[in-house]
């Protein structure tokens, strides 16, 4: 007979680290924190300013600032001057010290991070940084760039994906890239497990003059999907109003190319 006082329901609550790239005050992270709190103990370490497009940048050669905040209720929360990847490193190795999160969730990003955008995405780089640390991780993004985008239609899916990740696990070293179609009249069709579509941004540069007569350039891209007819891709799933889930890894080796350049050794 076990007489140890039971606080197992308390101690078994999973520890969920929440971060993002739109900054700690964005609606997307507030939505994600709210959902994560229904499932586990939540710690937030997120950038103090928008970090969209920061990719897997980290802050080297400069110090970082970390301040505790009071934006949420019953959450251990910090804003950081660094990038999303910095936030994960700081959370794991400084804020949480010896505790390792059961899950890292990043987002919900205001804007798509499907296909090639994963490379430029701070949201996904935070999730991939967690995967490097051996922590299960999910990046969530909504294909709606607006600051006041509606997240209502994705909440139940975010919750069920987090629960599935905690229950079934995510393979070691893998982070999930989850993208949601924007709110429309048609209900979401469900989840599709996909590969990353082969696509790129075809950039245009708009040349202008500043008030001092010096030139500057604005970058603006058109999205080009080379896999537009491929039904196994994230872009196709999103176009059909499915939620796309792409398992991602951080080994960039092109194993297919190893053989073709093997003659280079000498």
């Amino acid at each position: 007979m076990n007489l140890t006082p039971s606080n197992s329901s308390e101690s078994k609550r999973p520890l969920i680290l929440v971060t993002n790239d739109d900054g700690i005050t964005s609606l997307g992270i507030r939505t994600l924190v709210e959902i994560a709190q229904t499932i586990g103990e939540v710690v937030v370490v997120a950038p103090n300013s928008p970090q969209s497009g920061m990719g897997h940048a980290i802050t080297i050669g400069q110090p970082l600032r970390l301040y505790s905040t009071e934006l949420f209720t019953e959450v251990d929360e910090y804003e950081c001057s660094g990038t999303p990847a910095d936030c994960v490193k700081l959370a794991k190795h400084y804020v949480l010290k010896d505790r390792s999160p059961d899950l890292v969730v990043s987002g919900i990003n205001h804007g798509s991070n499907s296909s090639i955008s994963i490379l430029y995405s701070g949201t996904m780089s935070a999730a991939i940084e967690a995967a490097i640390e051996g922590i299960p991780a999910i990046g969530f993004s909504l294909c709606d760039y607006r600051e006041d985008a509606s997240f209502e239609h994705v909440k139940e899916y975010v919750r069920s994906i987090i629960l599935m990740a905690l229950e079934k696990g995510i393979p070691k070293g893998v982070a999930l890239n989850v993208n949601f179609p924007k709110l429309s009249e048609e209900p979401l069709k469900g989840i599709k497990i996909c590969r990353q579509a082969n696509a790129k941004w075809q950039e245009k540069f708009d040349y202008r003059k500043d008030p001092y007569g010096r030139g500057y350039l604005w970058m603006a891209g058109d999205f080009v999907n080379f896999d537009h007819d491929k039904e196994d891709t994230d872009e196709w799933a999103l176009s059909q109003n499915y939620i796309s889930v792409v398992p991602c890894k951080y080994d960039l080796t092109s194993y297919e190319a190893l053989e073709s350049i093997s003659s280079w050794s000498k």
Copy 2:
């Protein structure tokens, strides 16, 4: 009989775009430009300041500055306020307009970009950005962080790798991650084609106070190689005084994980 005046030797000189992440004035890029000039027509678009650790960051929501410079001889050259990935985008879609480079070379980086460091590397992100554009690309890095690092022992290899890339080609969508051991008494043993070692940076944060009494943190990592005994990795090659060459791709899909999470669809 063809009477057209022949300037084929001139017109066939390959167009080589050079960039880096240490900034346009660094010794590494000067060395790379010098080598590239012995092979082809060189255009330089490089950051106006150090961009180490910038990963695949791009500048969105802010304008870019681009100025022509006169640091090199007989080179069309520009410094840019953006990231290494921005430089490639600007070069391809603005500076070169309708011309596509035959090769993009990035570096030579002052410091290693082997194994996991590829994710944080501006040098390699520039090369990968070129691969996304369908341009053959190579990132060169020297495992010596010093500003005045000696590049003498790598020059002939850089040249022969560029020539091999131009002659034999690089598979579409692939960028090569080339790392050189630092100068030592032992001569380099040659080139090894490798995979990316599974490794990570185990971060430590040093807490200090600024002159105003506010806390700040310095990030400093120890490198942990989980593949230290694996002879097919870049880390092993470098430890044995080989030059490591890893073919890299920008499709992050973990195809191995697709099946294990396929039950998540509903």
